[in-house]
């Protein structure tokens, strides 16, 4: 039996997806703005940590950043309404991704997820039904579209969940119940269940349940018979994470709404029929791509998914423990996996005179940047290079930069993280393993 990805299917799931995605992005941006995060994350800092190779991406200043977010918000609104959809979704993808690349301090897996979803949305006719584009006759109304236009979002969700589950299959998570053992006692204020938070079995239950959930939920969502029950689990799981870990922000809601994509068009048609002006059409014209465009898009999406498949495994190319070195950690759906904190002291030395200048990180970094940098070697290196530049301008001849850094991982005691004898100013950026990261020591208290 062949898989016919071109088979026309009803477009309803895509319509729900477009509306909920646009609405949630709009809310997220408003929340971000009202929290003052545009200023505190993209205007206040004097130094930014760009993604390696992306250092041409700079913030745009107070006015520029606020305009950028305003444009992004308008784009989100237009996506929701389905007005000037293609332009809006392209703008949203670029503005959102641009902001995410300014500073990896703020990297979050769910931001990465949003970038990907908005990229995928560019290629599908999510505005061909129940949209202002149709209402204003900017685009022809279609009720059907090739099956792949919906399949790609399901595939993406399957990958996110599955890889998040795979990442949990480690010693600490399964057999130490770490970091749950640390995080749960901090939640003893919760009503009813609060008293359970000190119990060890609860930490193990959370760990194992979380791992099983992530590994299997997407597959249960795929099959019609298990889907309703699976979705109840989606609701319960993500609302629970929202209660337990309010710090994760909008992510639970993005996943709750996003998981609706697994439902049939029948379900979506009923859901949409609760909305005003929605005319239920069971069948109608099919959206068709020009043959060459279709091929090109599919080729592009193929490449995308091959990357999606490979990126989470790139850590295998590096030695030592992934959680310690974080080489190959980002873009891999490793979510809420570890409790890691660090503390770094930088020293700038002038070799000719032997003078040492200890760096006050507060002078160059925000508290958040300081915290994130302290546990991520590539950020430590970026910062060291920046310090060398700054101190050279301040008159230090051929500055050398050394770091004394301590990191505590998953409840273990803090240990020296970076070789304090290595002049980081002379160490190059690289995709190879950084030899100056001290090896991880498995030692329990």
């Amino acid at each position: 039996m062949g898989i016919n990805i071109q088979r026309p299917v009803h477009i309803a799931p895509l319509v729900t997806y477009r509306i909920t995605f646009g609405a949630m992005m709009l809310l997220s941006i408003i929340r971000f703005w009202l929290n003052g995060w545009i200023t505190s994350l993209y205007v206040t800092p004097v130094f930014y940590f760009p993604l390696q190779g992306m250092d041409w991406i700079r913030p745009l200043g107070a006015t520029g950043m606020h305009i950028l977010f305003a444009v992004m918000a308008i784009a989100a609104l237009l996506i929701m309404l389905g007005l000037f959809y293609r332009v809006a979704v392209v703008i949203f993808f670029f503005t959102f991704t641009y902001v995410e690349l300014i500073d990896i301090t703020n990297y979050l897996n769910h931001y990465y997820f949003i970038s990907i979803i908005s990229f995928l949305l560019i290629w599908v006719p999510a505005n061909a039904c129940y949209s202002l584009d149709v209402r204003l006759r900017l685009t022809a109304e279609k009720t059907m579209a090739p099956a792949w236009t919906i399949g790609i979002f399901r595939l993406q969700m399957v990958m996110v969940y599955f890889f998040a589950g795979l990442a949990k299959l480690g010693h600490d998570w399964l057999f130490e119940a770490m970091p749950m053992k640390i995080w749960l006692p901090a939640k003893s204020h919760l009503p009813v269940i609060g008293t359970l938070m000190y119990k060890e079995w609860v930490a193990y239950f959370f760990s194992w349940f979380g791992a099983c959930y992530d590994l299997f939920i997407a597959f249960f969502l795929l099959f019609r018979k298990t889907r309703p029950v699976a979705y109840l689990f989606v609701l319960a799981f993500h609302l629970a994470t929202a209660v337990f870990f309010p710090g994760i922000g909008m992510f639970p809601y993005v996943m709750i709404a996003g998981s609706l994509i697994f439902f049939s068009s029948d379900f979506h048609l009923r859901l949409l029929s609760y909305l005003p002006f929605f005319k239920k059409k069971q069948t109608g014209k099919a959206y068709t791509y020009l043959p060459y465009a279709n091929k090109l898009i599919l080729a592009l999406l193929c490449i995308h998914f091959i990357f999606q498949l490979l990126l989470p495994f790139r850590y295998l190319l590096y030695p030592d423990k992934l959680f310690w070195t974080e080489e190959g950690f980002r873009f891999s759906w490793r979510v809420m996996l570890m409790e890691k904190s660090g503390n770094t002291f930088f020293y700038v030395k002038e070799p000719a005179t032997g003078k040492t200048f200890e760096v006050n990180n507060r002078e160059f970094l925000t508290p958040l940047q300081d915290k994130m940098m302290s546990t991520q070697p590539d950020m430590i290196l970026q910062y060291a290079h920046y310090l060398a530049k700054v101190f050279a301008i301040r008159g230090v001849q051929q500055p050398e930069v050394y770091v004394e850094s301590y990191v505590a991982l998953n409840g273990r005691r803090s240990a020296l993280y970076i070789d304090p004898a290595v002049n980081l100013a002379a160490q190059p950026y690289s995709w190879r393993h950084y030899q100056w990261i001290l090896p991880y020591k498995e030692k329990h208290e």
């Binding site: 039996m1 062949g2 016919n4 990805i5 088979r7 995060w37 505190s40 994350l41 769910h110 099956a147 399949g151 399901r154 640390i182 995080w183 006692p185 901090a186 939640k187 003893s188 204020h189 919760l190 009503p191 009813v192 008293t195 000190y198 795929l222 019609r224 309703p228 109840l232 609701l235 319960a236 609302l239 209660v243 994760i248 922000g249 909008m250 049939s264 068009s265 029948d266 379900f267 069971q282 069948t283 979510v335 809420m336 904190s341 660090g342 503390n343 040492t356 200890e358 006050n360 925000t366 508290p367 958040l368 915290k371 230090v396 301590y406 505590a408 409840g411 005691r413 803090s414 208290e445």
Partner: protein, 380 residues
């Protein structure tokens, strides 16, 4: 390729029903889903709202008892004593200003030292009302900006409410005005006298307001919130441990000692430079930090760590507190002279401060699940 109606075609990823299969799904499924969704959301909303109003008894560790101990035995008594000390200081300063003699200056200085030492005992508690009034910033930003202070006295116009003037007021300004070089002679000027009185009045008013807020509203908020997230009492406490250690390492010792300046000493940048009891203040600060860590005789963060089975960490932290205190006490006052005269002693203490800082900022914060940050953002 033809498919039987009702059967999904192709892979499950693409499992979208053909139009002729609409309404095959059981009709009530959607309603069941919506109902459960609504129930979940209601449960969620309730659980969120109920958290603050109805604190649950704790079985593993009684955080409320710990916080009550902090509020009733450390913070409120600490601010009450500070209030009293400032009244004593006020009286001594009034005498000194009326009759600026060396004897009266000594009297005032002894009262000043008592008040300053007492401030070190509440220095760690810069959250809640103290944070609202920026007490720590207004009362103890050092070094004092002596140039600006003199300009202010000459012009007679200054606004102590503005955050831009933190270095022109507070205890460091009093240190300079009352005990700086030639203070006794200079205090014959009426403008200078008035400035001293205004600075002292501002310090007293901020402490009064902070204490009043603790007593009236903040105490119950403090003991009723057993969360550990950003902005919670436990979050604040652990963050303040790290912050105080940062202050000890930086402004109190490291910066004037020349750690940031390639060894060039800036002796006059240290705390209470003119009175010359910087080392005593540093010792008091750290002694109090240890006392806050242990919660005095009652429940403190140390007991919380033990309940989290972090006994070894707790032992190490206490040991490091003691080692650091011993080294710190070895530095003779005035510390400004020790930076050059006893550099090895300062250096020895500095190293221990750094080790203690790492323990508190990394190990203790990590063990208690508290984020060290003064910034709010999402995580994942």
């Amino acid at each position: 390729m033809q498919h039987a109606p009702g059967k999904p075609t192709g892979s499950v990823l693409l499992n979208v029903y053909k139009p002729d299969n609409f309404y095959r799904m059981r009709k009530n499924t959607l309603f069941v889903m919506l109902a459960t969704g609504a129930i979940s959301i209601i449960f969620y909303a309730c659980s969120k709202g109920g958290g603050s109003s109805d604190p649950q008894p704790e079985t593993g560790f009684d955080k409320t008892a710990m916080l009550t101990n902090y509020a009733d035995n450390l913070v409120i008594p600490g601010y009450t004593t500070l209030q009293t000390q400032l009244q004593t200081l006020d009286a001594a300063v009034t005498t000194f200003l009326t009759t600026p003699t060396d004897a009266n200056q000594q009297q005032a200085q002894s009262a000043f030292k008592n008040a300053y030492l007492q401030f070190e005992r509440v220095s760690v508690h810069q959250y809640g009302p103290a944070e609202t009034y920026l007490l720590g910033n207004f009362v103890n930003t050092f070094p004092a900006d002596t140039v600006k202070i003199n300009t202010n006295i000459q012009s007679g116009t200054y606004n102590f409410a503005s955050t831009g003037t933190v270095a022109q007021q507070g205890l460091p300004a009093l240190d300079y005005l009352l005990f700086g070089p030639g203070a006794v002679q200079q205090l014959s000027s009426a403008g200078r006298k008035k400035y001293v009185q205004d600075v002292l009045a501002q310090v007293k008013s901020l402490v009064d307001k902070t204490l009043a807020d603790w007593k009236s509203t903040y105490r119950s908020q403090f003991i009723g919130n057993t969360r550990s997230d950003v902005g919670s009492p436990i979050g604040y406490l652990v963050n303040q441990f790290a912050y105080e250690m940062d202050q000890l390492k930086g402004p109190r010792i490291g910066w004037p000692f020349g750690k940031q300046s390639g060894g060039i000493v800036f002796a006059d940048k240290c705390e209470a430079y003119y009175s010359g009891f910087s080392a005593a203040l540093a010792v008091e600060n750290l002694t109090n930090l240890r006392n806050t860590y242990t919660g005095g005789d009652n429940k403190g963060i140390d007991d919380y760590l033990i309940s989290l089975k972090k006994d070894q960490l707790n032992t190490d932290v206490l040991k490091q507190f003691d080692v650091t205190l011993t080294k710190l006490k070895a530095i003779p006052d005035p510390m400004s002279a020790a930076f050059t005269g006893n550099a090895d002693l300062v250096d020895a203490a500095y190293k221990e401060v750094q080790l203690l800082l790492t323990l508190l900022k990394t190990d203790v914060a990590s063990a208690t699940g508290v984020r060290i940050t003064y910034q709010d953002s999402d995580g994942d």
